[in-house]
């Protein structure tokens, strides 16, 4: 199995000389199984160049797994070339919207409505299929197995655990570690904390012994208090969770759009020293970078 980052930026694309090293496209990861099965995790703007790169493989069967439907994770989908080409088979997996009770297909079709995009979903030439994902569900794509888990974000967000040939790749999508909504002197504090602790250990189990973990690390530890509840992780929380889960290799992603390459490296260096990264048995930590291909 191998994978390639096509977009590592959070919230909104951030092109320009300040971000050219790590890249300005929003979230998109290409994962290939041992038999070249093609899985794409999220359809941020990075999916546009990915689509161009796939032309030699047409006609093509591929599966897109959407972690959640915030713009930065779906905005590239209408410009993803394979959906316009007859003969291609595209299956999109994602969460239904429980509030409006719309399926993932309906949620995504809305960004191709007349006011937003010239081509309607019904006019796509590829054969399109949409499947709602439920928590804990396993989807088999050739020799690749994908299991989902609901993580904490301001909308339903599924993390995906991708396994093939004994190797494990995990992507969180956007995830903030759940926190206690009560103060320590509130009567509900202790019970709530117990539920939070249980949920956190379930998430760690979901990461357990992964060969690669790609994890939302939007904020520095210092930035976090003013952004608590926004749905993203920190350098500190990602480092500690990866250690606890016994992960081998970690890529920190969802870089802040305002963070230049230099500032990103500075934040990473500071986190490494304040969390004493590099101790014995530590995972290998890296910043996710657009264009990088990793063999697992």
């Amino acid at each position: 199995m191998h994978f390639k980052f096509w977009g590592v930026r959070g919230s909104i694309p951030a092109p320009g000389p300040q971000t050219v090293h790590y890249g300005g496209n929003t979230t998109c990861i290409e994962v290939r199984g041992d038999n070249n099965e093609l899985l794409i995790l999220d359809g941020g703007t990075g999916i546009f160049p990915l689509g161009q790169s796939l032309i030699p493989e047409f006609p093509l069967k591929l599966h897109i797994f959407i972690t959640h439907t915030h713009w930065d994770h779906i905005q590239g989908l209408p410009m993803f070339l394979p959906i316009f080409i007859p003969g291609n088979e595209v299956t999109i997996h994602g969460a239904a919207d429980p509030i409006t009770q719309r399926d993932i297909g309906e949620v995504l079709a809305r960004q191709m409505e007349y006011a937003y995009f010239p081509v309607r979903e019904a006019e796509l030439n590829a054969s399109m299929r949409y499947l709602n994902i439920q928590e804990g569900q396993s989807v088999q794509v050739g020799g690749v197995n994908v299991r989902s888990m609901l993580l904490n974000h301001p909308v339903l967000n599924f993390g995906y655990r991708v396994e093939c040939g004994g190797k494990v790749f995990v992507f969180t999508g956007d995830h903030e570690w759940p926190f206690n909504i009560y103060n320590e002197d509130d009567p509900d504090y202790a019970d709530y904390q117990q539920m939070v602790d249980e949920q956190c250990s379930r998430v760690v189990e979901f990461f357990r012994d992964a060969d690669v973990l790609v994890i939302d690390t939007a904020y520095t530890d210092a930035e976090y208090p003013s952004r608590k509840g926004w749905g993203h992780g920190t350098f500190g929380s990602s480092i500690e969770a990866a250690r606890e889960a016994g992960v081998r290799r970690v890529f920190l992603t969802h870089h802040e759009p305002t963070r230049s390459d230099a500032a990103l490296e500075l934040a990473f260096d500071e986190a490494r020293s304040s969390h004493d990264v590099g101790r014995e048995r530590d995972p290998q930590f890296d910043l996710a970078r657009e264009g990088v291909l990793i063999e697992i």
Binding site: A96, D97, P98, I99, T100, Q101, I133, Q134, E135, G136, Q137, L150, N152, H153, P154, V155, L156, P178, I181, Y182, D186, D188, A190, D191, Y192, Q194, M195, V196, Q199, G229, G231
Partner: protein, 285 residues
């Protein structure tokens, strides 16, 4: 005039919540600094919102591998923003009218539900149930009479006859309901909880709150008995009113569970006016 239980879930989809809950949710959600715990508190003091949120988080849309039995539990699993938007979508339906053609006073009903919820939670602690599960008793108490809201909303004429007849003849409301409509509020509430995949212990406690002995035997920690007892205690205190004129003595199963009868249990619990006052606060607009 029988009631078709199969049509009830669809009717309830479009049923609004209590004015107290709806007003507070709209107010809280319009504030950028809305504290999650404040929102949870409003939802968990409104029987309709609680029922509907539990219904949604236990539905296939989430596909969660375990049943969710409280609003807090739901927040941990699906996140506060999703719960907030669920509450907003319920608030958008409108509000239950304060009075209805059935003649059930919704403020008094809410007071009754909140009173039973609080006392059921106290009884959980009295039974040695761990704190985290005592919340489930509160939810069961809050939802035990949900079927009456359904009847008042959708079958007001026949429900009014039941209320009048029970009052005139000083008979148990659920027995009169059974006679005249073929189904009573406890069964309606219990069936809804079942259809909506709420945790089985909660569904049983709602379904059998007038006859704990008819529930499944392995009902765990005594939730159903606690709701039965709380129901009699709150009515003995004259707190709130949900239309049943009869205060029932404890059947053997309930007195065995608590080791005493109704008056015995009330003297063990002591002065409940503080608890009832707290409950009363949530009936104010």
């Amino acid at each position: 005039m029988a009631i078709d239980a199969t049509e009830v879930p669809d009717l309830v989809e479009r049923m609004p919540a209590f004015p107290q809950g709806v007003t507070k949710v709209l107010d809280l959600a319009s504030r950028p600094d809305c504290a999650p715990k404040a929102l949870v508190q409003v939802i968990e003091h409104d029987p309709v919102m609680t029922m509907k949120v539990l219904k949604l988080v236990n539905s296939a849309y989430f596909g969660l591998s375990r049943p969710i039995n409280s609003i807090n539990h739901g927040v941990v699993y699906v996140g506060i923003n999703t719960i907030k938007n669920l509450a907003l979508s319920i608030a958008a339906i409108g509000m239950l009218p304060k009075s209805n053609k059935a003649g059930l006073d919704m403020n008094q009903f809410l007071a009754h539900s909140l009173g039973v919820a609080s006392v059921a939670k106290l009884l959980a602690t009295h039974l040695g149930v761990p704190d985290k599960d005592a919340t489930d008793f509160f939810v069961a108490g809050l939802l035990h009479d949900f079927g009456k809201v359904v009847l008042a909303q959708f079958k007001p004429e026949v429900f009014r006859l039941c209320l009048d007849q029970a009052a005139e003849q000083q008979r148990s409301l659920h027995e009169v309901e059974l006679e005249s409509q073929g189904i009573s509020h406890d069964e309606i509430g219990g069936r809804l909880a079942e259809v909506w995949k709420l945790p089985p212990s909660l569904a049983h406690a709602i379904h059998h709150h007038h006859h704990p002995e008819r529930g499944p035997e392995d009902d765990g920690e005594g939730m159903c008995e606690a709701v039965f007892a709380a129901n009699q205690i709150v009515r003995s205190l004259g707190f709130g009113d949900a239309g049943n004129p009869v205060i029932a003595e404890f059947p053997p199963l309930v007195s065995e569970r608590f080791g005493t009868d109704l008056s015995g249990l009330m003297s063990i619990l002591g002065d409940l006016s503080g608890e009832m006052e707290k409950a009363r606060l949530f009936t104010q607009l």
